[in-house]
């Protein structure tokens, strides 16, 4: 692209309407690269050097988010081929594996990406704890992170039922049987006699749409997995990322010490 003339031609006008700055490597353009891009604008324009070190952050938060994006993209593709009914679900899974071009790798990436996300979120929590990054002023963002951890596992759990094979059905049966043991609102829990809940009216029936894992449970888990939980998790992710910046960026050692050992010398 040639440098803009006094009176820009048509293509130059189009180009400048999209890109607000030029790309030669100047300090000003480095900042504009971040601040004039809605996606990169998640970042601050500058960052303390230690926040770059993978030895410090392990890259876990970013990779957790990457795995979320992978499951969103592959998940939407899988939705084109999958019907959440007891009669169709398993047939659609078989078709994905054997008939649909690239169906198997979409499903594999969705599943392994989801499992990776669970592990990466745990490791992210571990590193945030070990580096003391939940300490003031970041207490609230830690609690948001705990909610995201819970949502990650609920997303994975609701997706576990959808293949509608033996593994799926019985894993969800075992998992939701726990809900039947909830005190007072589960029919097998302590205090069920006081509230009078039955296997058709308790908290597990609310989750499953009936007394056991069947058609209604498949539809409920499908809607929770594909719509409800991703939206809730996205909302908390927005809060989480925003608060990282508002709470002072990636955590680090106290400013004075850090500045003393940095090439810039002690802070004035």
């Amino acid at each position: 692209m040639s440098p803009p003339a006094e009176r820009p031609g048509f293509w130059q006008q189009v180009y400048r309407s999209v890109f607000r700055h030029r790309f030669d490597d100047t300090p000003r353009n480095r900042v504009l690269q971040i601040t004039s891009n809605v996606f990169l604008h998640l970042h601050p324009a500058t960052i303390r050097r230690h926040g770059l070190r993978l030895r410090f952050t392990w890259g876990m938060g970013g990779l957790s988010f990457l795995m979320f994006l992978v499951t969103v993209v592959t998940g939407v593709i899988l939705m084109f081929y999958y019907r959440p009914t007891a009669a169709a679900a398993y047939i659609d899974m078989k078709n994905l594996q054997h008939e649909i071009p690239f169906g198997m790798i979409q499903r594999n990436m969705h599943r392994w990406g989801a499992h990776a996300m669970v592990i990466l979120v745990w490791l992210h929590m571990l590193r945030v704890f070990l580096s003391g990054s939940y300490k003031p002023p970041r207490e609230f963002n830690w609690t948001v992170g705990v909610l995201l951890l819970t949502l990650t596992m609920l997303l994975s759990f609701t997706g576990y039922l959808l293949p509608w094979d033996q593994l799926a059905r019985w894993a969800i049966t075992v998992g939701t049987n726990m809900a039947a043991a909830t005190p007072f609102i589960g029919h097998q829990g302590p205090g069920a006699g006081l509230t009078g809940v039955t296997e058709r009216t308790d908290i597990r029936a609310l989750l499953l749409g009936g007394p056991q894992v069947g058609d209604a449970a498949l539809l409920r888990f499908y809607v929770l997995h594909c719509v409800f939980l991703p939206i809730i998790a996205s909302v908390f992710m927005i809060v989480h990322f925003w608060r990282v910046r508002k709470d002072g960026g990636i955590s680090g050692p106290p400013h004075a010490e850090d500045a003393a050992s940095s090439p810039g010398g002690p802070r004035a």
Binding site: V31, Q33, L40, H43, P44, A45, T46, I47, R48, H50, L52, L66, M67, V70, Q97, M104, I105, N108, M109, W112, W122, M125, F129, L130, S131, G132, K135, P136, P137, R138, W142, T143, V146, L149, T150, D165, Q166, L167, A168, R169, A171, T173, V174, G175, N177, M178, A179, A181, T182, G186, Q188, G189, V213, D247, G248, S251, G252, P253, A259, G264
Partner: protein, 249 residues
């Protein structure tokens, strides 16, 4: 308090060791994304996601395992009733994790790795993360077979292998009235009160204050009670510590 927060949360732009995010951070993000996507793609080409026979409500597999990340909780079902293992413990895990920043009053070790400046909090967290979460998951994934009996990973799942144990309630084993079970449980939690009376003048507890101490002590005693009950079951076949008509612990 809010001023202190705002002060601590000032932007990094003014710091002398700051570098521009473009290209320093964006470059790292791009490279880690590429490496992660290559690994995930290769893994997904090589290893297929499992798909068993179609769901059949009339055929219950043995063992029926929850998804692997919940197997720690399923493992707890061996030692505790479902309302504890499946409801109370998960709720306490989530609430306890959320409470950590409000319970840990140690100002040191913020934003860097140090064991020396906060040995207690790191020891507690690693005990919970590794001992109470990761290890039970590994047991559930690799060591549990038919009837939820213990099979080493190299052992065949042979039904005849299973040993059938008769578990006995602690109070019956000791030959004392079952109401004493409640005394045992209360005595365990009153250890927290005793420790408070003993060390309430110590700097750590003064800094914590009564309410924070009570919550911390409850969570810690619950965390340690779990492996204690597991040991009672595995070593001396104790079924319940406290039996009541409404619930058992």
């Amino acid at each position: 308090m809010n001023d202190a927060h705002a002060q601590a949360a000032r932007t990094d732009e003014t710091l002398p060791d700051a570098v521009t995010t473009w290209p320093h951070l964006v470059r790292i993000e791009l490279l880690t994304t590429l490496v992660a996507m290559v690994l995930l793609t290769v893994w997904s080409i090589v290893v297929d996601a499992p798909l068993e026979e179609a769901a059949d409500p009339n055929r219950t597999p043995d063992p029926s395992k929850a998804p692997w990340y919940f197997l720690g909780l399923q493992e707890l079902l061996v030692y505790f009733d479902p309302w504890i293992a499946g409801v109370i413990v998960p709720a306490l895990i989530i609430l306890g994790l959320m409470a950590i920043p409000y319970l840990d009053r140690n100002p040191r070790g913020s934003g860097y790795y140090t064991l020396r400046e906060r040995p207690f909090s790191i020891a507690v967290f690693l005990f919970g993360f590794l001992g109470l979460w990761i290890v039970p998951i590994l047991i559930g994934v690799f060591c549990r077979g038919p009837g939820w009996n213990w099979y080493w990973p190299w052992e065949p799942w042979d039904i005849a292998h299973a040993t059938h144990l008769t578990n006995i309630n602690l109070t019956d084993w000791l030959g004392v009235p079952s109401a004493l079970g409640g005394v045992f449980v209360c005595a365990w939690y009153s250890l927290g009160g005793a420790f408070w009376l003993w060390r309430r003048k110590s700097p750590a507890l003064l800094q914590l204050g009564g309410a924070r101490y009570a919550v911390t002590a409850f969570l810690l005693l619950t965390m340690t009670a779990i492996p204690l009950k597991m040991a009672l079951r595995l070593l001396v076949n104790v079924k319940y510590v406290w039996v009541t008509p409404w619930f058992n612990i």
